[in-house]
């Protein structure tokens, strides 16, 4: 055992010291001139990339919002157009209906007028016919009377019968 550790420090302390010194120098120099700038550059870049991504996301959202707005506007415009068209249609229908109504009334009035006129003409014609029939009847009666005047009673009866038979409307 003693032999195993004989000269251990004498032979190996130097290497241990050299290794420790090498590590400490390496750590100090690399930390100052390599790790610090590299790590800060990496984290800076990471942050800037994250920022850029966030901004892109925001721009995308803004874009979506604008598109949405446009669509909304378009929809509104379309709805307005539809409304106007519908109103116009209603108006048109109303006008047409009104016109139809007016025409109907006018027509009816004209028909009524025509009917009245026809009726009056008919009445006039009827009166004329009645007059003529009366005149004719009177003439017939005169002739009958003149002929049958002798048989006065019989003739009277006959006239009465005839008159009964004639019916004028």
């Amino acid at each position: 055992m003693e032999q195993l550790f004989e000269g251990l420090l004498n032979d190996h302390l130097g290497f241990v010291v050299w290794a420790a010194v090498a590590f400490i120098i390496l750590l100090i120099l690399l930390a100052k001139f390599a790790w610090k700038p590299i790590m800060s550059a990496i984290s800076d870049r990471e942050r800037s990339i994250e920022d850029a991504l966030l901004k892109a996301e925001a721009a995308k959202e803004e874009m979506a919002r604008l598109t949405n707005e446009n669509e909304q506007l378009l929809k509104e415009a379309r709805a307005e157009r539809d409304l106007i068209l519908r109103e116009a249609k209603i108006l048109k229908d109303q006008i047409v209906a009104e016109a139809k109504n007016v025409a109907n009334i006018e027509g009816n009035k004209m028909i009524e007028n025509a009917k009245l006129e026809i009726n009056s003409l008919k009445a006039i014609a009827m009166a004329d016919v009645k007059n003529q029939v009366a005149t004719l009847s009177i003439e017939i009666a005169e002739k009958v009377l003149r002929r049958e005047f002798d048989n006065k009673n019989a003739q009277d009866e006959l006239v009465a019968d005839l008159l009964k038979e004639v019916k004028i409307k």
């Binding site: 004498n10 050299w18 420790a20 590590f23 120099l29 690399l30 990496i42």
Partner: protein
């Protein structure tokens, strides 16, 4: 999270290697028979190849950095002695064959350890115990190379962050950034919580230093090949740093859990020591895990290469190379995985130490 099954996977590969050994036994017997005929003709004093020493030599720290053939890079020797500091080139030892006459003592390299020798060439134990070896060894140099690589990589990455503010990463930056993000989002944030930013430098340094040392250890030629993360002293230093970081960032809930655990008072004599052992054992497990995994990878690769020298036939080389290639690909994964686990568990320990609410 439980990563213990990863350790078990080593067993699988060890049995695989054993399988290779058994299937090739026939090959070996043939080689031995062949050897008997030619051995006498060959140089008789050629010493037998011992894979154990060869492998342990390769994974150990050294005062030389072997380049190729007989060429090695001598490394500077720094010694703190009781009389003063010694500084000289490792070439003076001539691979441990000769003693070097320093300013204060005469030194000799014995098993790659520096010992003081007296005039007769015998080790002076008393004097040896007063010298402290602070040499720039293979592993120290490998650490410096890894550190320099880290500086080059991360300073240029940091520069490109400054140049391209807020832009997408490009080139090296785009390779490194996902790894940093991985450490931040998969290791630090889920384990530590919202206070993770304070610990990022320590976690990132630990992660990348271990990873790059693991990777360089896989490279067989000069700038790589040192077994830094498979050195228990290195992993000791790192887990000790983790121990310090965890315990110095701990809040009152953490200490309350250790010294006033929610158990009946008569259990305190058992519970408090158990909790205190827990404080030490968690970094200790980190130390052993990294050391064992990386060393095992190196040992397996070196064993496969050693097959060529054990069988003394070149025909085994394709098999060795195939398996080494397979192991290296696996070790690439292990290199990342071990760095990840070490950092992950560090973050987990910090997370338990800084946890606000108590359950």
């Amino acid at each position: 999270m439980d990563f213990r099954h990863i350790l078990n996977s080593k067993k699988l590969f060890l049995s695989l290697i054993l399988g290779v050994f058994f299937t090739l036994t026939t090959c070996k017997t043939f080689a031995i028979q062949h050897e008997e005929h030619t051995a006498e003709a060959k140089n008789a004093e050629q010493e037998a190849f011992n894979p154990t020493t060869a492998i342990l030599e390769h994974i150990a720290d050294s005062h030389y950095w072997h380049l190729w053939g007989e060429t090695s890079l001598p490394l500077p020797i720094i010694l703190f002695t009781d009389k003063g500091t010694e500084f000289f080139s490792g070439a003076g030892f001539h691979h441990g064959h000769e003693a070097y006459q320093g300013k204060y003592y005469t030194y000799k390299l014995i098993d790659d350890k520096i010992r003081v020798v007296n005039a007769e060439g015998e080790v002076d134990k008393e004097a040896s115990s007063h010298i402290y070896d602070f040499s720039i060894t293979k592993n120290v140099l490998a650490m410096w190379i890894a550190g320099t690589l880290l500086f080059i990589i991360f300073f240029s990455v940091a520069a490109s962050y400054k140049k391209r503010v807020g832009k997408a990463p490009k080139g090296l930056q785009s390779i490194i950034e996902p790894v940093i993000m991985f450490v931040r989002d998969e290791i630090a944030r889920p384990n530590i919580g919202y206070r993770y930013e304070r610990y990022m430098p320590v976690l990132l340094t630990i992660f990348f230093f271990i990873w790059i040392n693991n990777l360089l250890g896989l490279v067989p030629i000069f700038p790589g090949g040192a077994n830094v993360t498979g050195n228990i002293l290195f992993t000791f230093v790192f887990s000790f740093i983790v121990l310090l970081v965890v315990n110095f960032s701990a809040n009152k809930y953490y200490w309350k859990h250790i010294f006033m655990p929610p158990v009946p008072v008569w259990l305190y004599p058992i519970m408090i020591p158990v909790e205190l052992i827990g404080v030490i054992s968690r970094p200790f497990a980190l130390m052993i895990r990294l050391y064992a995994n990386i060393s095992a990878g190196h040992i397996i690769v070196l064993s496969l290469i050693s097959l060529i020298f054990i069988f003394k036939t070149l025909w085994i080389a394709p098999v060795s190379i195939l398996f080494v290639l397979f192991m290296d690909v696996l070790e690439l994964l292990v290199a990342f995985l071990q760095a990840f686990i070490f950092t992950m568990l560090t973050a987990l320990f910090i997370g338990t130490a800084v946890e606000e609410h108590h359950h």
